[in-house]
């Protein structure tokens, strides 16, 4: 409309990463090393199992963020894949006899394989209606699972592959495996977002039409995100089943998994790699602290989520993200003028 009132006095500089990122990444690596090498020897088995849940929550949050934060796909039905992952793990480990670690990875692949055809169905809906559509799909998965006698019907399945394994060995194995899986999923998401594909996804998120007109394959990008995000949910579901030694259709297909994902991403900061990490820790800590209050903790979570969306829409991470990025995916422009 008009000329800039204050002309820039120097050339702008564009940066990605930087010293803040290096320090942050170093700190994060230190945390992982501590979790791997120190924590298992100083906390109780119960605490380790609880940490496995934290790792699963990080995976759930990270992959839901992939959907909503980068793909613009708000799915309220990711519990479908949590359930598929949980059931797949038990079937593969018990009926097929696969080693547990392989069964978890295969459960992720099965999640992706189920998500691909499903995407053609739910992508017929847009925006908010897609959200409920995915929920319907999850209900169908749950109801169909309950109809299959081989899957235990309404009472679910127990994991028997660990019978005969020492409890300490089992918990330690699950703990280290879950930690490795979490690190792999977060790093994988980071590398995906830094890749050419990720650049296209960011463009789709920011302006779908403009991205399409610039030659970004919008539909393929969104489908990739949906399949990858659902595979992540299936991995988390398999981990949860591995840690809790069983599944019931009511709990593994519960919409509360998606509620957790949404809380984690919204409170942590949507559309950033770091946000879900922060959000998962907050969710997990709240869950531990508020557990004695029963369902009140869900009331608190709901209210906190609403408050964050309205008052700090960039989440907790958004409050510090202006300063540094742990996972530098975006470039920042510093104008030359003061």
């Amino acid at each position: 409309m008009s000329v800039p009132t204050v002309p820039p006095t120097g050339a702008p500089t564009i940066t990605r990463g930087g010293r803040g990122s290096l320090i942050g990444a170093g700190g994060l690596a230190l945390v992982v090393v501590l979790l791997a090498a120190v924590v298992p020897y100083v906390v109780t088995l119960g605490a380790l199992s609880s940490l496995v849940m934290l790792f699963a929550l990080v995976i759930l949050g990270t992959t839901w963020n992939l959907l909503a934060g980068y793909g613009g796909i708000v799915s309220v039905g990711q519990q479908a894949y949590v359930g598929v992952g949980g059931y797949a793990l038990i079937q593969l480990a018990d009926a097929v006899g696969a080693p547990p670690w392989a069964a978890v990875l295969a459960a992720g692949v099965i999640g992706a394989a189920v998500a691909l055809p499903t995407s053609y169905l739910v992508f017929r809906l847009a925006g908010g209606y897609l959200a409920i559509g995915t929920w319907v799909v999850a209900e169908v998965f749950r109801l169909v699972t309950m109809q299959i006698d081989g899957l235990g019907g309404g009472s679910g399945l127990s994991l028997t592959a660990f019978r005969g394994t020492d409890r300490v060995d089992r918990v330690a194995f699950v703990y280290w495996f879950a930690l490795a899986l979490m690190v792999a999923v977060v790093l994988g998401t980071y590398l995906l977002m830094r890749s050419r594909v990720g650049l296209g996804l960011t463009a789709i998120r920011d302006d779908r039409v403009a991205a399409g007109s610039l030659g970004v394959a919008v539909d393929r990008g969104r489908r990739l995100v949906y399949v990858a995000g659902s595979a992540g949910a299936a991995l988390a579901g398999a981990l949860i089943a591995l840690s809790t030694l069983g599944v019931t259709p009511g709990s593994i297909y519960s919409v509360s998994w998606t509620a957790a994902m949404i809380f984690i991403v919204v409170v942590g900061g949507i559309g950033t790699i770091e946000g879900p990490l922060v959000g998962a820790v907050v969710y997990w800590a709240l869950q531990q602290a508020l557990a004695p209050l029963g369902t009140w903790y869900l009331v608190v979570l709901g209210v906190v989520a609403v408050a964050v969306v309205l008052l700090a829409p960039r989440g907790l991470w958004g409050l510090v993200a202006g300063r540094f990025q742990l996972f530098p995916t975006t470039y920042r422009v510093r104008s030359g003028r003061i």
Binding site: R124, Y129, V140, D206, T272, L298, V299, L310, T330
Partner: protein
């Protein structure tokens, strides 16, 4: 005969679903918000009516109290929660965020996320206050009363529900088509900025739309409470059924929503006739089939609300 009976029951059940779906459809039509708290709010209305009846109020009086209370609640929820969330959609659309860090924030997802937060909090709150036990609003003889229809006997309560659903849909449709406020509501749905230039305050008009939607939803909730054993978690199913009715019928048409409700109801009762465990599943499958075959719904779009 059983099949015919199942079909007729399904049509009547469709009335309840259409009544539930009416408000969901209206809010989406006017401001493109999908209210994920829709179902639990209907269940809240059922609990509120039950509470009033237990205090000794006759049921009709409970309805007379609950419906306006919900209209007021709708107005307040829109002004206090949904309008601020919509403001974020606009802020993002205008590219309002120039700080570094990559994320643009909740943006266009804000209304959906807010309504989901409300749904989670409200469901759990109901569980704390009323426990997870199933309840039913006592209706005396009404629930068991039947009306002979040829060789069949049709439940009086489902029949009343269907009649009320048709009346409510006709009423909302007339309101939108014939009144200045309804016209302004359609104008805001088309272009809120241009509507403001004609003197309409979009935020107020959105709140009026939500008030109307909540009033219909409260009425639907009371009928659900009379005909079904409900619990706090039942809101999830209510949301899914209402949503399926809207999509099957075709977005943007309230009469389509009625047709969608009937299709869903018939699918469920026929499905349950085949296998008593599979009624709800059959409804979901019919919904998904419609999505595959006719993603725009069964009826073409007419009035934009």
């Amino acid at each position: 005969m059983d099949w015919l009976n199942a079909g007729v029951q399904g049509v009547l059940l469709g009335g309840q679903y259409a009544l539930l779906a009416c408000g969901l459809s209206l809010i989406f039509g006017v401001m493109r918000i999908v209210n994920l708290a829709h179902g639990v709010l209907a269940v809240l209305a059922a609990y509120l009516s039950l509470f009033l009846v237990q205090q000794g109020l006759p049921l009709w009086l409970a309805v007379v109290v609950v419906v306006p209370v919900f209209a007021a609640l709708g107005y307040a929820v829109q002004r206090g929660l949904f309008n601020p969330a919509l403001a974020q959609v606009r802020a993002r659309g205008a590219g309002g965020d120039s700080r570094g860090g990559g994320s643009r924030g909740a943006g266009e997802l804000a209304p959906l996320l807010v309504s989901f937060g409300v749904a989670v909090a409200l469901t759990s709150l109901l569980q704390e206050v009323f426990s997870a036990d199933t309840r039913r609003i006592p209706t005396g003889d009404l629930a068991s009363a039947g009306v002979p229809l040829g060789p069949l006997s049709v439940g009086l309560l489902p029949l009343i529900t269907l009649v009320v659903a048709v009346a409510v849909i006709a009423g909302v449709q007339l309101f939108l088509a014939r009144t200045p406020t309804g016209r302004a509501m359609r104008a805001v749905a088309d272009d809120p900025g241009a509507a403001a230039l004609t003197g309409v305050d979009p935020r107020h008009m959105y709140a009026v739309a939500t008030a109307v939607a909540f009033a219909t939803l409260a009425l639907a909730g009371v009928f659900v409470g009379m005909s079904t054993q409900f619990s706090p978690g039942y809101g999830d199913l209510v949301l899914l059924f209402a949503f399926e009715a809207v999509i099957i019928g075709g977005l943007g048409s309230l009469w389509g929503t009625l047709a969608g409700g009937v299709v869903l109801g018939v699918a469920q009762t026929i499905g349950a006739q085949i296998d008593p465990q599979s009624g709800v599943l059959a409804g979901h499958l019919v919904f998904l089939a419609v999505l595959v075959v006719r993603p725009g719904g069964l009826l073409p779009r007419s009035v934009p609300a």
